[in-house]
């Protein structure tokens, strides 16, 4: 092995190249739509395109400056997805609608926030200090939509929005992140305790009842979301996030078994007790019966129209701007996957799903690569959350599972979702920066500046190395570690 092979490479130029590719895909899609609507390439188009390109390039430069070892594939993937979403939302806008521009504004805001996170946070391990603050913030965010005055009331059967001046915002999207931070902080501190104590039944080791506290908390949060906010999708998402993180923290499959039992039990009871859950399940199982199809609200019209759209797209799709995705309710938000399926066909939709697959895979890769338990848990949890969210949404649209009200990350119209997902990407980029960057294991000494430190010369990033590090120092005070 030569020295050059083991030296970490920033790969920022690769990122720039891929970024140009991603931008040409999204701007190309937008151009196709503009041409199709015979608005030609007007100033609006040039403004939108250059804004997206400029924001992406700024992001790229920030990565060069602040996280130069960050994963080079993530940003281009996310820009491509976000750009395709912008193009589709723009395409679905009826004359006079402004959803497309609104989405673009939110994209810029979300990217700015993600940049700020990278710029000011510098290192994800700082977040570990905010473990319990995160819990409090999560609770606050989840309670907000239920508080009179702030709550935007019940929209489409769910109480998940709050009112911020003229806008509405879904705090639950951000709660996904703060909950992940809390779980990661809590579990990285207490995993030994949870792991070692417990009773063995058969091949599985079950935890002590008192160690089940966080599990019960997470379950209660999920059920609370389901009951009070009537948001089945978020409920599944929060709980799935927690199960994966506790599984990764303890490597005990028993937690998964307990978790799945709890959620299936909770879901079963909920489907019996709460009409909105029962309606969802009914409109999934009996989507093609006349009564269910015509029922409003809670009918299957939305999902069935989405299926019709996807079917008409077939293998190659109708072409952007050539289909009739407008026939599907919520074509630019909940059902945007059906809109893509119709116009880009199976091939285009596979490409989009493949982008998500690559995105979360890079997230998992960062989790493997980073050396601190907190970072591993956080990266793994966030990546899995993205994957699970895609599964719940796309599975719902394709009638694989009941349709719930989750948004498709980066594609669907909606500011809160964009903001939350861009922050997730910011965090994942930061974790991947520590994962791929050169390692410095020496504790920081008071008075020494980070610049005075030298990176350890030969310690390569990689699982072989980090396994040792984490096992010998599972709970080292990692906040102190600094990088160039």
């Amino acid at each position: 092995m030569s020295h050059a092979d083991t030296m970490p490479k920033p790969r920022r130029n690769v990122e720039l190249l891929l970024l140009v590719l991603a931008l040409s895909v999204s701007i190309g899609a937008n151009a196709l739509i503009s041409i199709d609507e015979q608005t030609s390439l007007d100033t609006d188009f040039w403004f939108q395109s250059s804004l997206l390109a400029a924001a992406s390039l700024v992001f790229h430069v920030v990565l060069r400056l602040r996280a130069k070892y960050a994963d080079p594939v993530m940003l281009p993937l996310v820009v491509a997805l976000n750009g395709l979403g912008l193009a589709m939302i723009h395409r679905l806008d009826a004359p006079g609608d402004d959803t497309g521009n609104n989405q673009l504004r939110w994209t810029v805001i979300a990217m700015a926030v993600a940049i700020a996170v990278i710029w000011f946070l510098k290192d994800h391990r700082v977040l570990r200090r905010f473990t319990y603050i995160s819990l409090a913030v999560s609770a606050l965010l989840l309670i907000l939509p239920l508080v009179p005055g702030i709550s935007a009331g019940e929209i489409l059967g769910a109480r998940v929005w709050i009112r911020l001046g003229p806008m509405t915002f879904q705090p639950g999207e951000v709660a996904k992140i703060t909950l992940a931070i809390f779980f990661a902080g809590y579990l990285s501190s207490n995993r030994d305790l949870i792991m070692l104590a417990g009773r063995k039944i058969g091949p599985m080791q079950f935890p002590r009842f008192k160690d089940m506290g966080p599990m019960i908390t997470a379950w209660l949060v999920s059920i609370g979301v389901l009951i009070f906010q009537r948001d089945l999708g978020s409920s599944v998402l929060f709980f799935g996030l927690f199960i994966v993180m506790i599984y990764v923290a303890t490597s005990r499959i028993s937690w998964v078994v307990i978790g799945l039992t709890l959620i299936l039990g909770g879901g079963f009871v909920a489907s019996k007790v709460f009409s909105h859950v029962a309606l969802r399940i009914d409109s999934w199982l009996n989507a093609f019966t006349e009564e269910v199809f015509g029922r409003s609200p809670g009918g299957s019209g939305q999902i069935v129209e989405g299926l019709f759209g996807m079917a008409s797209g077939g293998l190659v799709g109708t072409g952007l701007g050539q289909g009739r995705p407008n026939l599907v309710p919520f074509a630019n938000s909940d059902m945007i996957i059906a809109s893509f399926g119709e116009e880009l066909g199976l091939i285009g939709l596979f490409a989009i799903v493949m982008m998500y697959l690559l995105l979360f895979t890079r997230g998992f890769r960062a989790a493997l690569g980073t050396r601190d338990a907190f970072g591993k848990l956080l990266a793994c949890g966030l990546s899995f959350a993205v994957a699970l969210q895609c599964f719940v949404v796309i599975g719902g649209v394709t009638r694989l599972i009941p349709l719930t009200g989750l948004t498709t990350p980066f594609l669907a119209a909606g500011g809160s979702s964009l903001l939350a997902n861009w922050i997730i990407v910011g965090l994942l980029l930061m974790i991947s920066h520590t994962a791929r960057g050169p390692v410095d294991t020496s504790p920081m000494q008071p008075g020494r500046t980070p610049e005075a430190q030298k990176p350890a010369p030969v310690t390569a990033a990689g699982s072989r190395q980090d396994r040792n590090t984490t096992q010998t120092l599972p709970d080292a005070p990692t906040e102190a570690v600094k990088h160039l």
């Binding site: 994966v244 490597s251 077939g314 026939l327 998500y356 493997l368 899995f384 599964f391 396994r467 984490t470």
Partner: protein, 484 residues
């Protein structure tokens, strides 16, 4: 921990594998089924603005595509809309496709396999897709006459066929509606017209097309032709049989007594020949035949005339199968034998029964299509007469014809008599229970070489109006067709 991260990744990949599967199913495997779903509006929207073929009657279009506005290149127009609504149906963006527009959709839209090479040609020449035109067997003069013979405000139907070929020469029912209003591009007008039309009793918009094919009515005494055929077919009766003709018929164990028909001269004798019983439409002779032969024999003969079964899909119209009920008690069988109780028939069914008697016992499949022509006027389809089923033997058919002739020449059907022509006919009066009746006439002419069969039904009329509106109207149609 890294092992658990890898397992979580595998779980995420597994979820995505399911997504890929679900997308493939919706967009490729199950796509055809979804596209064919009747709730799927995309098919009609796809073709809505295309240049559909015309539906022609006597060389002029009753339905055609005319140049539309900017958003939609072609618009469907119905000429003489009320006269032909029951045949054409409508081609509506919101309410789907009915009637011949639906039955002949593949030809009219140009998607039929017979038009494959035309499509290829249109593709290469860059022409707009254009459908085939469909020419009907309808005689516009007879159609108009029949329509005008039903007074406005009266519910009724008239079916005129050629018994030897099954070709339908006229098929009308009132009240009618204007399909132009339901096929307009103005969604609000479309809805208003549909909601107004659907409230009119007798207008069947969907799925049954028109009174002649969709309305199930008590046939009354015209059903006695079935009893007569069954009696002769059993071998127990012949032309010389003497039938009991009591004033009432009693049944063991119940109070009910079936009265003889009060309108004619039935009361003058206690026994009757077939000729007399049919001429005066006496009830008790046929009730006693039914009691003698049993339910099974009557039901079998009814099915041979087409009850309880399809009329053949050559008609390509939706219709309701006529009903002869089963599991009858003695009184029920007696009432059913005279076309009361739960016996139901469409006007088209009665016309086909009469046509079978006229055509020596062979029932021809009803046919509306004279020719299908490609856009370059090449004939691509010309349906040949098809025998649907054998209803009875030529001998029995000849015997019934002889008696039916005497119904017009000597009996209560004398209103249908045409000077110089032997007309065979049978009247019917089905009591609706409120003093009003469904008044029928069904017959054909000339009796020795049938050219035309006419079936008239007027719903909800008293005896006098019924007598005026049925047989005399049939006479005028016979005269018009036979040029007398």
């Amino acid at each position: 921990m890294n092992q658990a991260i890898r397992h979580s990744w595998i779980a995420a990949i597994a979820m995505f594998a399911l997504i890929f599967g679900a997308i493939s199913y919706v967009q490729v495997v199950g796509a055809d089924e979804l596209k064919a779903n009747p709730w799927n509006r995309r098919a009609i929207l796809q073709n809505y603005c295309n240049d559909r073929g015309a539906i022609l009657v006597g060389g002029s279009a009753i339905a055609e595509s005319v140049p539309g506005n900017e958003s939609c290149k072609f618009q469907r127009r119905y000429n003489q809309p009320e006269l032909y609504a029951g045949l054409t149906g409508y081609f509506s963006r919101s309410y789907g496709v009915t009637g011949l527009e639906s039955a002949m959709d593949a030809q009219l839209a140009g998607s039929s396999d017979q038009l494959f090479f035309d499509r290829i040609g249109q593709l290469f020449l860059g022409n707009q897709p254009k459908g085939a035109s469909v020419e009907l067997t309808i005689d516009p003069k007879i159609q108009k006459l029949a329509y005008d013979l039903i007074p406005d405000g009266q519910r009724g139907s008239i079916v005129v066929t050629d018994p030897k070929t099954g070709n339908i020469l006229a098929m009308v029912s009132k009240p009618s509606y204007d399909p132009n209003l339901i096929a307009t591009q103005d969604v609000a007008k479309e809805q208003a017209a549909y909601n107004a039309a659907i409230k009119v009793p007798g207008v069947n918009l969907n799925p049954s097309v028109s009174g002649p094919t969709g309305a199930l009515l008590a046939p009354g005494s015209v059903f006695k032709l079935v009893d007569t055929a069954a009696a002769l077919n059993s071998g127990k009766y012949n032309a010389d049989s003497v039938l009991p003709n009591p004033a009432q018929m009693s049944f063991p164990g119940i109070q009910y007594q079936l009265p003889n028909y009060a309108g004619g001269n039935c009361y003058t004798r206690n026994t009757a020949s077939f000729a007399f019983a049919l001429q005066q439409s006496c009830n008790t002779p046929f009730a006693s035949i039914a009691r003698d032969l049993g339910e099974k024999a009557i039901a079998e003969q009814a099915s041979k005339f087409g009850f309880n079964s399809d009329l053949g899909d050559q008609l390509k119209l939706d219709y309701a199968p006529s009903i002869f009920p089963s599991d009858l008690d003695a009184a029920g069988l007696a009432q059913s034998a005279i076309g009361q109780r739960d016996v139901r028939a469409t006007p088209l069914q009665i016309a086909l029964m009469t046509s079978a008697i006229a055509n020596s016992g062979v029932q021809m499949a009803p046919n509306l299509i004279k020719a299908v022509r490609s856009p370059d006027l090449r004939v691509i389809d010309q349906p040949k007469p098809v025998a649907l089923r054998t209803s009875t033997t030529p001998e029995i058919a000849g015997q019934i014809t002889e008696w039916m002739t005497s119904v017009v020449s000597e009996g209560i059907g004398s209103g249908a008599a045409v000077p110089g022509v032997e007309v065979a006919g049978k009247t019917g009066t089905a009591e609706l229970g409120d003093g009003l009746n469904n008044s029928w006439f069904t017959g054909f002419a000339p009796a020795n070489d049938p050219q035309v069969s006419v079936t008239v039904v007027m719903q909800g009329v008293d005896i006098t109006a019924g007598a005026q509106l049925t047989s005399p109207n049939a006479k005028r149609i016979f005269e018009a067709v036979l040029n007398k």
